[in-house]
């Protein structure tokens, strides 16, 4: 039963990811008063791509062709760990938040390799920048995660969320810091403005796009999908960790439904916020990114220290 729900939740995750992307695009268009594409446009794109005949660069080795599958399934693994509509699922016991970060690292590792595989300047540039930014983002993220982990004294996501849920409404200064840190990191990791611009293909500024420049067909589809999944994953993390209310603790149909509606609502709101920020902010220079991320790290650290100093009673 639990297993089924877990699988169902993962499937939901995968299937909802493009929707979130579509919704985000829609919001941005409205804000920039352009005519928005349909909400389901991302699904159409993916479907189209999977039907296409993939073209592969000559130098590309098996790394390049297998990377998309690895990246996608790694991201999928990460997604399966995160409670979407219900806590206390068997999948989240198999791997905790650290492992989840590990999955991201896994995906990134192969993405960067794929970027280097084709042997062009773009690929190298992309993977170099990607690795740089992520290696700065990872400690910041872990700082935020540790704050939660120490507060809930567990690294198991669903247990942690349950803990926050049952604790009721407690205003923890540490969580505020951690929240902001996680948001900053999420923006950086999912390659959104101001760190990276998913829409651009201007060589000097792009990071994520530079690596996947050579991809086409189903490979491109998988990678796109994976990044949409990642975006949603951060969204869900932020939503469910810091305001977990509504998530199902019992596996009854209505509870689950309620949980689903709740998360959709939260994500919608988050997406709007993100859209607004993306509209207002401009992309920053690459070498400003470390300041941005060290700020995120600082927030995470502050969160941790405030937890240790203010909240632990000895």
């Amino acid at each position: 039963m639990n297993g089924l729900i877990a699988i169902l939740q993962t499937v939901l995750f995968v299937s909802l990811a493009p929707l979130l992307a579509g919704w985000l695009k829609l919001c941005k268009c409205c804000l920039q008063n352009r005519k928005p594409p349909s909400l389901l446009q991302p699904y159409r794109d993916l479907l189209k791509l999977t039907r296409k005949h993939p073209v592969v660069a000559e130098q590309a080795s098996w790394i390049f062709t297998k990377a998309p599958y690895i990246i996608f399934s790694a991201t999928l693994m990460a997604a399966s760990v995160v409670p979407l509509i219900a806590v206390d699922l068997p999948t989240s016991a198999g791997a905790d938040m650290i492992v989840m970060v590990g999955f991201f690292a896994f995906a990134r590792f192969f993405l960067a390799l794929a970027g280097l595989d084709i042997g062009t300047a773009f690929g190298g540039m992309g993977s170099s920048r990607e690795m740089t930014i992520s290696s700065l983002a990872e400690p910041a993220m872990l700082m935020a995660v540790f704050t939660l982990a120490m507060a809930a004294s567990t690294t198991n996501l669903s247990v942690a969320i349950a803990h926050v849920l049952n604790e009721g409404l407690v205003l923890r200064p540490s969580f505020v810091f951690a929240l902001f840190a996680l948001i900053l990191v999420g923006v950086a990791e999912t390659g959104r403005v101001p760190v990276d611009n998913p829409a651009t293909h201007l060589e000097l500024t792009m990071i994520h796009e530079a690596m996947i420049l050579e991809y086409s067909g189903r490979h491109l589809a998988l990678i796109e999908w994976a990044s949409q999944l990642k975006l949603m994953l951060y969204g869900v993390l932020i939503a469910n960790i810091f305001l977990p209310w509504g998530i199902a603790e019992t596996f009854t149909a209505e509870a689950l439904l309620y949980g689903l509606l709740a998360i959709i609502a939260k994500l919608a709101v988050l997406a709007i916020a993100l859209a607004i920020s993306e509209t207002l902010l401009a992309k920053m220079r690459l070498f400003r990114v470390q300041e941005y991320l060290s700020f995120a790290y600082l927030l995470g650290l502050l969160g941790l220290l405030s937890h240790i100093i203010l909240e632990v009673s000895h």
Binding site: M77, D96, G102, G124, M131, T132, L142
Partner: protein
């Protein structure tokens, strides 16, 4: 019985060393055997045939090399057996060898800790001996005599094993120095390059200084006890001050060998100098022996540890880990890079050991066991993948005659098997899930996250920061090894050599790395196997084991409790495989899109994507170099050669980038200068004038007379 296995391992490695000496004795052997058969003609004919054809001009060296490595391999296997059996039987075996001083024979003690490191050494040595024969064939006999190489390899291994067996200060030091000196000769093996000579000198000098510090450390303990056996030293009653002094000395001594920042400088010099299978042993195993020494000294001999020591280790470890990986990232030379990354991994181990000390002194035995286990597990894993990577580097050097990663590229198509093995190594060392490197770091994080059980607020805030630094280290390591694998194996080949390179012909050279890669993966999926062994070590040493929550079954890893954290690699693997294969199958179902079309790479319409356009090592790390600019001494120059009218237009642009280690100008050169100037001053007393000399003895006489007449 178990001890016999251990002795057998030691003796076999000695034997392999001695056998290597026969390399130049072919003629004498031939003469001897001829004489022997003349003396006893009635021995079987085919025996003579065998002997003579084995003593044949061409065949003899090959056979001998194989024989040497077979002995070495057997010694490795025996070491593994001995280690396993003592770990499983969980008993402590002691013995005496009537060598050494008349009133102080060599005391031998074979317990879990020694057994565990025996296991590490055994695995490494046996893989190396699978790999060795093909590798050493590259050396011409007249320039690089195999006799020296084989002899000192055997002594080196024997020395390491003896260190683990030693149970008194005297034998420990002898074995320790045997290890150092033998490895010194191995570093100096290719001594026609001045750089190698310098490296060897530096290495031996630091080994000597370290050994002296260790002796002094033992001396401090011995000063408070009767005798030099470890039993006596265990019972030494030290004041906190003396204990801290002893700890400091041991840290200096073992740290120098292990390569803790800032006394690490010999590593990046020595490892590239030695033959690759030796650097594999040095980096993969010898550093672990140093860790063993530290653990033995602090947790076993000193007994009651202070949490302040733990803090020292924590800080030093963090600095080494970060410094190591940052320096590693900047190295274009593959083996230097690997050496620096050893500094990083040792840093991690030391840091987690510090954590263990902190928990121990604050009275949290379970967490102590957890941290201790994380440290030993990481030592084990590092031995596996660092060996793998060094052997891989050896293969690359063997095939391309290159170690500069900017000169390689595109090798994945030329050397598929090697590249696969190397990839496994890279993934393990950058601690990706499903590989062994991840497990130990995960446990380290778990240990660090328990910091809020501590009462001391400083510690509670210090430890998570260290953990975050660990995270940064891991991320940087991933970046570093993406660079390594990407530049070496992917893209287009950057030089003639890598253009011409091909897979190794002698598959035995791949067998060793393959075994290691398999183990890396195996212990990434089933870490329980090793953890069980380490638990028996900590049960002996700390009377405490890690509370692995067995409620979830043996497939699970739950260091503190299932509630707090759990990780089940097999299930993850299963799920990942399912997901991956499902998508794979789904997307490639339709026959017409199943095939892929090959096309030229997108060149922005300019045409001609050449290998020079690819990112180089310097380019890849440029962002990080700008971000962490303070961490290195960067010497970056761009020279333009001008030409044409009034030298206005640029003919060529030369880019120089040299990254230097801070510790040289800060620490080592001052010492060198000091000694030299002191020697210069002292030299003045040798004036060459006899009357001055007479004056010396005259004054000395008067002085002495005055002294005694007081």
């Amino acid at each position: 019985m178990i001890l016999i296995l251990a002795y057998a391992a030691v003796l076999l490695s000695f034997a392999s060393g001695l056998l290597a000496l026969l390399m130049n004795q072919r003629d004498n052997l031939a003469a001897l055997s001829r004489y022997g058969f003349k003396k006893y003609p009635n021995t079987i004919k085919d025996g003579q045939e065998l002997v003579f054809c084995s003593l044949d001009e061409q065949r003899f060296p090959v056979l001998l090399k194989q024989a040497v490595f077979v002995l070495l391999g057997m010694s490795g296997i025996f070491a593994v057996l001995a280690g396993l059996s003592v770990l499983i039987s969980t008993d402590i075996i002691t013995d005496r060898i009537s060598l050494g001083l008349p009133w102080l024979p060599w005391h031998v003690r074979f317990d879990g800790l020694s057994g565990f490191f025996f296991l590490i050494i055994g695995i490494a040595v046996s893989t190396v001996s699978l790999y060795g024969p093909a590798y050493v064939n590259a050396y011409e006999e007249d320039r690089h005599p195999f006799a020296a190489l084989g002899l000192f390899t055997g002594l080196f291994v024997a020395g390491m094993l003896l260190v683990l067996l030693a149970d008194d200060a005297f034998m420990f030091m002898i074995a320790w120095e045997l290890m150092s000196v033998a490895s010194y000769f191995l570093v100096a093996f290719q001594h026609e390059h001045p750089a190698n000579r310098r490296a060897a000198f530096l290495y031996l000098l630091m080994a000597e200084v370290g050994a002296l510090a260790i002796i002094l450390g033992f001396g401090v303990l011995a000063g408070f006890s009767d005798g030099f056996t470890f039993d006596a030293l265990r019972n030494a009653q030290l004041s906190t001050t003396w204990g801290s002094i002893a700890f400091g000395l041991a840290l200096l001594g073992f740290g120098m060998k292990a390569g803790i920042f800032p006394v690490h400088v010999w590593l990046p010099e020595a490892h590239p100098a030695a033959p690759s299978h030796i650097s594999a042993l040095m980096s993969g195993v010898m550093l672990k022996v140093a860790v063993y020494g530290l653990v033995r000294f602090c947790f076993d001999l000193l007994g009651d540890v202070q949490w302040q020591w733990g803090v020292v280790l924590l800080i030093l470890g963090t600095v080494s880990a970060l410094g190591g990986i940052l320096y590693a990232m900047m190295q274009p030379n593959l083996k230097r890079l690997l050496a620096y990354s050893s500094v990083e991994n040792i840093g991690i181990i030391v840091m987690v050991l510090g954590l263990a000390m902190i928990f121990l002194d604050n009275g949290h035995p379970q967490l102590t066991a957890l941290a201790f286990l994380a440290a030993l597990l990481h030592a084990f894993n590092h031995a596996l993948f660092k060996n793998l990577l060094f052997l891989g580097a050896g293969i690359l050097h063997h095939q391309t005659h290159e170690l500069n990663i900017d000169m390689m590229g595109g090798l994945i198509k030329k050397m598929p098997q090697t590249s696969l093995l190397f990839l496994v190594g890279c993934m393990s060392i950058s601690s990706l899930p499903l590989f062994n490197g991840f497990v130990s770091e995960w446990l380290a994080f778990q240990a660090a996250l328990q910091a809020d059980v501590l009462d001391n607020g400083v510690l509670r805030s210090l430890i998570p920061v260290a953990a975050a630094a660990l995270a940064l280290t891991a991320a940087l390591a991933a970046a570093c090894f993406v660079k390594v694998f990407g530049l070496i194996f992917l893209g287009q080949s950057r030089s003639h050599h890598s253009e011409k390179a091909h897979e190794v012909t002698d598959k035995s050279m791949l067998a060793g790395p393959a075994l290691l890669a398999a183990l890396c993966f195996l212990f990434g999926i089933f870490p329980g196997l090793v953890i069980h062994l380490i638990n028996s070590v900590s049960a002996q040493l700390l009377e405490q084991t890690m509370p692995n929550d067995s409620a979830l079954g043996w497939l699970w890893l739950a260091p503190v409790s299932a509630e707090q954290a759990s990780y089940s690699p097999p299930l993850v693997l299963l799920a990942a495989l399912l997901a991956g294969s499902a998508t794979f199958w789904y997307l490639r179902r339709s026959p017409e899109t199943k095939t892929m079309r090959r096309a030229a790479t997108w060149d922005c319409g300019f045409g001609g994507v050449t290998s020079r356009m690819q990112y180089s090592s310097g380019a890849f790390t440029m962002p990080l170099r700008r971000i962490f600019a303070k961490a290195w001494l960067i010497d970056e120059r761009i020279d333009k050669t001008m030409q044409g009218a009034m030298d206005q237009d640029v003919a060529a642009v030369h880019y120089h980038l040299h990254i230097h280690d801070h510790s040289w100008p800060r620490l080592y050169q001052p010492i060198e200068r000091g000694v030299n100037s002191l020697a210069k001053r002292v030299g003045r007393i040798q004036t060459g004038n006899i009357r001055t000399y007479l004056g010396y003895s005259f004054v000395t006489l008067l002085l002495m007379l005055w002294v005694v007449s007081q």
